[in-house]
């Protein structure tokens, strides 16, 4: 059964996975370098380690842009502080277009909580958002205590607060906010166990240390392919084709706007305009490179539309900041 699930899922993935990968919205195959820019390698500040999701997307995009333009990109990893260390270092770097930043939706939630933190939509210029994904709740495929979302909710309620779910439940994180939406909507109480690294988080579910897992599908793809994990809830407005059998939160009676996980690339807002235009082209076109598309497909990032250009990114970020701010106020957090 496990293998059947895995095989079926893989085949579905390959069928559906190209839905959002085929067309490239940035048509120009080349773009004149403004005043010879860039004459040397770019530096990409990455506020997370090289092995995680951000590190991998930064490497894939750097490789794609270099393939396209011949311009080398040095990645400078500055992990720590939920991305704030890297962001601070980037804001202090020269705004000459030679320094770009990779960041995720954490930058938006950090600004929503504390407006003195940079607003990625206005204090920076988004070059491209190259990964947008949704979250799901997973259980072990061989789990017998519950097999789907309704039976899971029923079981959790019967445990009187003793049930557990693994996630990254740091204060104000997307995971914690979404779990608040879910628990309020269902009336269940569940203990969130915060694991900041993926491996112990997934191991906790595999080994039965926790009862469920909150995660994005790309990060657990190998467990889905191997038939070890099974999604029981998709936190997105519609069922993606790949997960056609998994109900969405709205179908299960939860009426909230899903918070998305997204990763993108930025440059200083006061960088020279002609250089910014070239960078926009390089990164938006880099998204279309075969190597980058192959990477995104391997990460389940072609299941829904992962691409946003500058305006699309600004819209996504601004909407996300508003959502977080409303939630934080409702949670009683000190929104500055």
């Amino acid at each position: 059964m496990n293998k059947l699930f895995g095989t079926t899922l893989v085949s579905m993935l390959f069928t559906a996975g190209t839905s959002y990968a085929a067309e490239c919205v940035r048509p120009e195959a080349s773009f004149d370098k403004p005043g010879g820019f860039p004459e040397r390698a770019l530096t990409m500040v990455v506020p997370y380690g090289p092995a995680g999701g951000s590190g991998q997307v930064a490497a894939a995009m750097a490789e794609a842009v270099t393939e396209l333009t011949g311009v080398a990109i040095n990645r400078d990893h500055k992990p720590g502080g939920s991305g704030t260390v890297g962001m601070t270092a980037y804001m202090a770097s020269p705004a000459d277009g030679y320094n770009v930043l990779e960041h995720i939706d954490d930058a938006s939630s950090a600004h929503a909580l504390d407006s003195s933190m940079p607003n990625p939509a206005s204090d920076l210029i988004p070059l491209v958002t190259s990964q947008v994904t949704f979250s799901q709740i997973y259980i072990r495929t061989n789990e017998t205590r519950y097999t789907d979302w309704p039976s899971f909710v029923e079981w959790v309620k019967a445990q009187d607060g003793k049930a557990t779910i693994a996630n990254v439940s740091k204060e104000g994180s997307m995971e914690r906010v979404t779990m608040r939406f879910i628990t309020e909507a269902t009336g269940m109480t569940i203990q969130q166990i915060s694991f900041d690294k993926g491996a112990p988080r997934y191991g906790a579910l595999l080994g039965g240390q926790v009862d469920a897992l909150f995660e994005q599908p790309g990060d657990v793809r190998n467990f889905l392919d191997a038939g070890q994990f099974k999604p029981i809830l998709t936190i997105f407005d519609e069922r993606p084709d790949v997960f056609a059998e998994t109900p969405t939160h709205r179908e299960m009676g939860m009426d909230f706007d899903p918070l998305l996980r997204f990763r993108g690339f930025f440059v200083h807002a006061d960088a020279p305009a002609d250089r910014v235009e070239w960078l926009k082209w390089a990164f938006q076109r880099g998204y279309c490179e075969d190597s980058y598309q192959a990477f995104n497909e391997s990460k389940f990032m072609t299941v829904i539309d992962s691409y946003r250009d500058t305006e699309g990114s600004q819209e996504l970020i601004t909407q996300t900041i508003g959502q977080y701010r409303d939630v934080y106020k409702a949670m009683g957090l000190d929104v500055k």
Partner: protein
Amino acid sequence: MIDNFLAGTYALFGDPVTIGIFLFGVIGGMLFGAIPGVSMLTLAAILLPFTAGLEPAQGVMLFAVLYCTGTYGGAITAILFNIPGSPENAPTSFDGYPMTQQGKAGKAVGAAVLCSAIGGVSSALVMMAATEPLANWAIRNIGPPEIFALVFFGLAVASSVGARTIWKGWMSVLIGLLIATIGQDPVGGINRYNFGYIDLAAGIAFVPAILGFFAVSEIFVQAEKKATGKYNAPKVSMSFPSFLELWRHKLAVLRSILVGFFCGILPGIGATLAAFMGYGEAVRWSKNKDEFGKGKLEGVISSETANNAATGAAMIPLLALGLPGGALTAMMVAVFQMHDLQPGPLVFMLSPDLIWIVFAAMFWANLSILIIGVIETKTILNLLKIPFQFLAPLILMLATVGAYSGRGLVLDVMVMFIAGILGYVLRRSGFSIPGIVLGLILGKIGEQNFAQGMQMVHYDLGTYFSRPICTILIVAGVLTLGTSAYRAFASHKKPV
């Protein structure tokens, strides 16, 4: 198993390109492991994009070899200059550097070479024999409460290492634990002790702190001796440990293999905890605890056996379950994915050839530490002949580059120098630098797992003790603490 191993060995050494990649990994891992700041991770990150052009087995094999030899590489600088190449080599310097000062550098390095090879080869053999059942046992039985209990058990002996009195030993560990609390708390993400300084939200990084406490404070100590005319240059000795000397430590080796393997198999833990626990267990079981931290060969043997024993073990959750044990094994996941493969149960079914080439490569890489390590040691020991006035600035420069290069933050250089000054002052007062570093490194791991464990047991300590492994380790740790306190009172050691 033997047939598969021989087939993997044949595939490894039957192709000149694969041999070249293997040798590159062996030498590159040793070199990058030895230079502080630019660890095997640096080399792995540089090589990652290039593995796309290799055969899948070659790419994964290269990273596995880097992991084995890179873990050993940092021992050399830890022993000769008190500069651990990476955190997992820090306990090696506790006794390795004092041995260098006593003119026994050859013995220390020789023991490190041999024990790294023994630890690594043993681990590789167990990995080949029982990857899947071991991985499944570990994830079902070891969770955050057990890992916290393991750390507590390890910390309970840390006070015995290198301090003038047991009380100063405990104070040293507590200072380390206090430093470990700087930065965001590991569960809620709340900033602590960062005084509004954002870079401190990431906490105190291990490498700059270790470089400061060990290398910089040592330079201050030696400079003081030089200035007061008490400086004695370390004697350069090429004499390796005899077979009899090593045979006397067979139990320490065996214990460290078990400890290292156990720590390595836990997802997300890896070689650093293994080295510290291996060292801690050597202290716990020794009749001469006071000799640790002062140049005891067993200290070097225990930490180097344990950290390399963790390398093969860390491959077990990666290959069997797709769970990487640390940053380098996480990069290996990326190598798999570049070739449309996923580590986990399916890879055993779909790519058994790849698995056995990797297993064989790790076995031979660990053995090659022995051969290349001996040749390398004969050369590198001559560095000790450089006069102090030239060597000290060189070490300081290397340490500064090492501290900065990890994250590119000036803060880390500042941390290194502050740790150096603090280390110098505390050493003069009889506090234990190994104790502080043990507290710092184990404190971060322990706090995170304690908090996660408390969430899992719904903040009910009674439930914590309903987990047998957890209970045994905590009780053993409390007994160790009680025994050491009793001994301190019984021997009329007065608190200072």
